[in-house]
Amino acid sequence: MESAAVVTIVAVALIVAALVVYLVGVILQLRKITAGLDQVISHVGEIVEKSAPVNGVVTAINEQLDAGVDLLEGLLVKKAGMVDAVGLVEGLYAGSAAAGFRSFPESTTVKAPRIGEVYTHGTLTLARLGREAPIAVGNPAGPALRDVERGSLAARLLYPEIRQSRPESLARSPVIGTDAPVQYPPSEQRGGTTPDEAEIREKGPWSEVAAEGIVPAEAGGSDAPRELLAEDPQLESTVLGATTASDQPATESGIDPSSGDEADAVSDGGPELPEGAEPDLKDAAAARRQVDVESADSKEGSDT
């Protein structure tokens, strides 16, 4: 056989071998790709299956929310008016007035008024409904201020906390008199306030005498021991003051409370002027007006 023929045969064999090697490699890779795409298709199928109801559900949610927005927009415009409604929304969300209300296209042309934190119309409306407007420290979600049982406390809570809710934590007003639980010796309290250190420092050393009393007890002041005081019974507590501790009236006849029930401001008012006397100018304001007298007389006549 000629050498050329041998070379040809070898070349063809090499070509076939190369084709086999590479094509087998390609086939193997394509099988891997096919396996991978099968997995992809499986997962995509799951995605399609899981997302199938999403569109309907989201659409339903959007419809519900649209209905809610329409409701609130309509209520706001109905109650506050278009201009005030735009101003209120603009006050809450700056720039929203330009977008306007979705259900009211004409709202985009409304010039939003400047409504600050206090909306007078709303304040009055809330006050009319018995709830304080949210302009003070009161919580609009709190109890109604005009509640007959707790209205006083709720109203007081609008003001700075001093003693409206915790009166027990503050000192009570002092009880004065001989039965007072705290007794102040005359040398310590002689009218006015007893100067403390700050007041003494402010007013000067002369005010210290008030702290010690006009006459100190050591010098025979009114709260000195009895042996230092003169034999003057008027310095007993009966003179210095004591309650009677009795319900007996101070007068012999006492006070008849029924007289007040029968009083007539028209007929009983003013001083008793003598009949026929020339009225003095100083009694002009206190005297009964003639029209009132005539009115009272005519009423009595009609009653009888």
Binding site: I47, L72, K78
Partner: protein, 85 residues
């Protein structure tokens, strides 16, 4: 005889071309495999993420109840508040 050798040379050239082209095809096939695997993993993750889609039914129910409550409040306000003049 000369033609035989010329044919052999041409055949060798064809061999080189065939080897080059097949190598390119094999390389392309190999490069697709990682991409297909990455797509499969991503699809699996996406499918897992959509497991929460079922909760949308609960959300829908809550939204429905909320809007119904808003409607009730709005109706009450409509009654107790005066309309704008």
């Amino acid at each position: 005889m000369t033609l035989w050798w010329i044919g052999n040379i041409a055949l060798f050239a064809v061999f080189l071309v065939v080897v080059y082209l097949l190598h390119g095809v094999l390389s392309a096939a190999r490069s697709i495999v990682p991409s297909a695997e990455a797509i499969a993993k991503t699809a699996a993750a996406g499918s897992k993420d959509l497991d929460a889609a079922a909760l949308l039914l609960t959300t829908q129910d809550q939204v429905t109840k909320t809007v119904a409550g808003v409607a009730n409040y709005g109706g009450s306000l409509d009654v107790i508040l005066d309309d704008a003049e």
